[in-house]
């Protein structure tokens, strides 16, 4: 299931409602959700001045993460190394749920963003990308002469 970017879509709302019901009654909701998403999980939000993207990607080397913005499409890609690499015949992996390997996620951004003002920082395993909106697109109060 999938939470749409357009909250006014009736079917998406029904989907979301159903998913929230499932989450409310499930024994333990999973971080990867019900088949949607993948790694890293993304939260997207907006303020009148900017668009904020939070990628929940723990344990990465920030130098190895690629953040690209091209024609209004933001893509995040990189690779997460396995922690099982050091294992040998004497070690047993009882649970192996964490994501390993290459990842890539893409977010399409609104039209009014300014591609020159992207900032990205990595803290507590969360990659936060902030893209400013263009000055001309921001709401302005017009004073009466």
């Amino acid at each position: 299931m999938y939470r749409a970017l357009f909250p006014r879509d009736v079917f998406a709302e029904l989907d979301r409602l159903q998913r929230e019901m499932q989450e409310a009654f499930a024994f333990s909701p999973t971080i990867r959700g019900f088949g949607r998403g993948g790694f890293p999980a993304l939260n997207v939000g907006a303020t009148p001045q900017s668009v904020e993207i939070y990628a929940f990607a723990p344990g990465l080397d920030p130098a190895g993460v690629e953040v690209h913005l091209e024609r209004g499409v933001l893509s995040l890609s990189g690779e997460r190394k396995s922690t099982l690499a050091a294992s040998n015949e004497k070690t047993i992996a009882h649970i192996n749920e964490r994501f390993v390997g290459r990842f890539r996620r893409v977010v399409s951004l609104p039209d009014d963003i300014d591609p020159n003002t992207v900032t990205a920082n990595y803290r507590d395993g969360v990659l936060h990308v902030s893209v400013k909106r263009r000055e001309s697109a921001q709401p302005r109060r017009i004073s009466i002469q």
Binding site: N43, R98, D124, G125
Partner: protein
Amino acid sequence: MSEQTIATQETQTPQTEAALLPPVDVIEDSAGITLYADLPGVAKDQLNLRVEAETLTIEGQLSLTLPEGMQASHAEVSLPGYRRVFTLSRELDTEKVSAEFKQGVLTLRIPKTAQAQPRRIAINVA
């Protein structure tokens, strides 16, 4: 009367609030168990590790700095925290658990007790 007391007990337990289930890796070697858990967005002081009897509880609250007036339009991480509970076995030494938390990844090392560690037994030939 008795039903009422049960109901109040239930509301007091923090277990009832919804939390995300963090993905983990658990690897065992001859000297102990290593657990890796993904808890992105949790600051070090918001992470809570507890060992009670033979139960290990990992809890963390998300602490993201959101800009003022932000409206979420898409949320895959939509709950305020993480929780996961494990039952430990008797041969693990819960007194000597060591933990490291780095960039959202928790590494827990639980050694086995000295008695439980494998020993090579020399065979005496008469």
